[in-house]
Amino acid sequence: MKGYAIYFSNKLLWFLVTLVAAFLLNFFLPRLMPGDPVASIVARLAQGMTNTSGVQAIYEQYTKLFGTNLPLHEQFFLYVRNVLRGDFGYSFSQYPRTVADVIGASVWWTVALQLPAIIIGWIIGNTLGVFAAYRRGGFDKVLMPASIFVSNLPAFGMAVILLVIFAVQLRWFPTSGGYGFDMIPNLSWDFIWSVIVHYQLPFWSIVLITIGGQAIGMRSMSIYELNADYVKYSRFMGIKDRQIVGYVFRNAMLPQITGLALAVGTMVGGALVAEIIFSYPGLGSTILTAVLGGDYPLISATTLIVTIMVLIANFTIEIIYGFLDPRIKAAQSD
């Protein structure tokens, strides 16, 4: 058990170090971008104003409100204090909305779209990969090129293809939005059905791409494992097929699990394309507008979410690895 404890605390330490470093970058990097976001808010407020003192007064009012008149290190400590209290401040680009409000309204759409899509893409992809490795023959000959083709399509390409075929040409699915253009959100079956229908195209545009990549990886891993000495040895030993498949699956799975963790961690970034093409509400497009608008608080908060998700996903994987692969624990306890 000592091996696990060392392994676990080691990983936790690195997790915290990375978190602090990422937190610093999240704060400072957006603020190094050119342009003065407060000036652009004032510009918006001051359109049509012809007297200079009025504009200057508005500018000072807002720099004070957003704290951008303070030196950067003071801003940082204020930010840390506020974040620890759960207060991310006002969004610059959507002022007077708060960052919490902006993210709260969009994050669930992204999670509900991306998480199932990634997991299902992963499950189907791996299943097909193992299947191809095991069956070989015609199935493999069709699946492999198809997977390579699909996984190499850029995400926007897949989204546009699905949009044109199923929404514009066949009209099976709507072209845009998270729910019917003629609906008001409520808990009726009509609305839920509308959400499901709108969900399909963005969902499958992510799933199809995930399937391709996962299937290729899993197929190679499985083929490698099927030819491994321990499999042959197990067969000579007369061990049952079911048990051998268990060994193979467990060994071939490891890199795939890493892939899943990373995909889950980075899903917010990956959401952007599907969300934009299908005008789907969500965090991806929120980040894009935040970056284009120089909206520091919103950029910092959203990137912090992404960072924490990636870190937690990695941390969890490292821990699971420790249990799945005894070699890792063994290496630590040496």
């Binding site: 050119p34 342009g35 000036a39 652009s40 004032v42 510009a43 918006r44 407020l45 001051a46 359109q47 049509g48 104003m49 012809t50 007297n51 009025g54 504009v55 500018y59 959507q94 007077p96 909305r97 709260g104 309204a105 969009s106 669930w108 759409w109 509900a112 779209l113 998480l115 199932p116 299902i120 499950i123 189907i124 299943t127 299947f131 009209r171 709507p174 072209t175 845009s176 939005g177 253009f181 003629d182 609906m183 008001i184 959100p185 409520n186 808990l187 609305f191 839920i192 959400v195 499901i196 969900y199 097929d241 498949v245 969300e275 093409i277 299908f278 005008s279 509400p281 497009s285 608008g293």
Partner: protein, 629 residues
Amino acid sequence: MRNKFLMLAGLLVVFSMLFTACAAPAAAPAAAPAADATTEATAEAAADATTSDPNSLPRNETLYYNGQQWGAVVGWNPYSSSNNNAMAIAQGDNARVVMFETPYLYNMLDGQVYPLLADGDYTWNDAGTELTFKLKSAAMWSDGTPVTAEDVAYTWATHVKYNTPTGASNIDYIEDIVAVDPQTVMVKAKLDDAGKAVNPLLVAAYVSSNYVIQKAWTETLEARAGDDATAFLADPAEDVVYSGPYGKYFTDDSKAVYVRNDGYWGQDPSMWGKLPAPKYLAHVIFKDNAAGTTALQAGEVDVSQQFNSNVQDLWLKDNLPISTYLPEAPYGIGASLPTAFFNLASPGLDQVAVRKAIAIAVDYPTIIANAMTNQSATFTQVPRSLMNPTEGEQATFDHAAVADLQWAGNDVEGAKKLLDDAGIVDTDGDGWREYDGKNLSYVATCPNGWSDWQAAIEVVAAAGKEIGIDITTNFPEWSVYQTVVTKSDTPLPEGYDIFMMGSNGAGPTQPWGRARQLMSSEFIGMPSNWNGNFGGYNNPDADAVIQAIPAETDPAKLNEMYTELVKTYLTDVPSFTLMYRPQSFHTVNESVWTSFPHEGDGTNPPVPPLDLTDGWSIAGLYNLTLVNP
């Protein structure tokens, strides 16, 4: 083993399918927070004696828009300009009067103003220092109380007190707005040393550009904000009282919906005599123009206020019931003049010959055909001036007097000759002309992602190469671009030698406002200059004419003065128009609603193609009929 494997694989697939089915409703909780708003809205709607299903918008009671609202609505406060609530709050020359109302409505087609809250025309006193108008006795707020002169006066006082954009931009021209009696409003102009109004044109424009806001509600807001200007302007004002035909129904990150107030005062015979046809106005928030065009094609948008590239394909190739105001190119009425400004401080660009050479060499037909897909009049159809293509503005100057100075572009030989004559030639044989011993080398720029502008700027750069001037392009993000271009108290930085900005469209102060915007030196030195003359042009003679026009009433004199300004503008070339652009794009899909404004539709006064929301165009909402009633 093979069977086991197949079974495992099969199970996984079945499991994943089941998961898909379960996963979809998982998105529903996202909508849950909105449920409160819905209930609230439903209650409101119920108060308006609604009988329809509160959870859906019946297609034949709803008019759908695109192109006005980008991003979520953040508030309903008519004093603030940061609500991002485009359908409800947009004050200006063609103020959007869906929710809040102005005393008068401007009609860009005939240049007249028509009374809305006001009763009859406004009058000036003989000295031209006080403008008086009466309010309609029928005009009511959504809470049932009458709109009074006190409301108008208090709105102005509040704008001044909190230094709102409206207050700050009019304080130099309006001394005060007072209630003479409950129905009579007097706008007192600010006077100059000679005792004359500083700018009667802007005083008159106030009454068609700015909303009247209820005094009682304003006081509630002030109490809530505790007299703090920031809190006052940041208040989302969910409880706002309004006088217009529509109010808040529902908003979230994907749409904004406005519901008709069936008790709207405008159904009184003294105004419209009936309610506007659609019960709901809805605007789905699209992420980009492409998504908006797709929805328009699908019949999910009735009125499209966005640039639809090659709009004619929608009816010629796709055979959709889609149309524009004019059946042929330019499809709409050009109102604004997207303009390339020269940074007059850049070496060489202080020379008229260089500026004019670039301007006359540009291939404008290509810009209009490619960047605007012919949704602009050409410079042969409407030769360049300071005026937009509307008849009213074109009549303000003497065409024959400026004909020699106008150019339609593609004049590479003429440009070369101009430069040669000015002694600006290529002496070192590297292909680029020099001025003061240095190659003429410039960066032409506009905001990134503004694809039609980017295409136009590329054409400008190409013209430079034809005449031996090295012009490269660069496209910064709008968030950066706007702060650089509007900072007129410091010289423009490197990379902004030739840059694009929009111009005023149609309005009650035009074409004076646009002439001022393109030529007046009064904006030089402003830290946040959204007014114009971004290149730093300074011509005292032009300034004097610009200053004199607002007080001039003699049409012949005015014609002379405008002709003078056009001559100076085309001679000095401080900037040059690249295309004409409509005030609003106005493309309609007639699969559900019909009787939209079209040229020659017989309406009198004519309803302008401004999406049935802006200025006099709101009259169009009362003319709409259903295709299948």
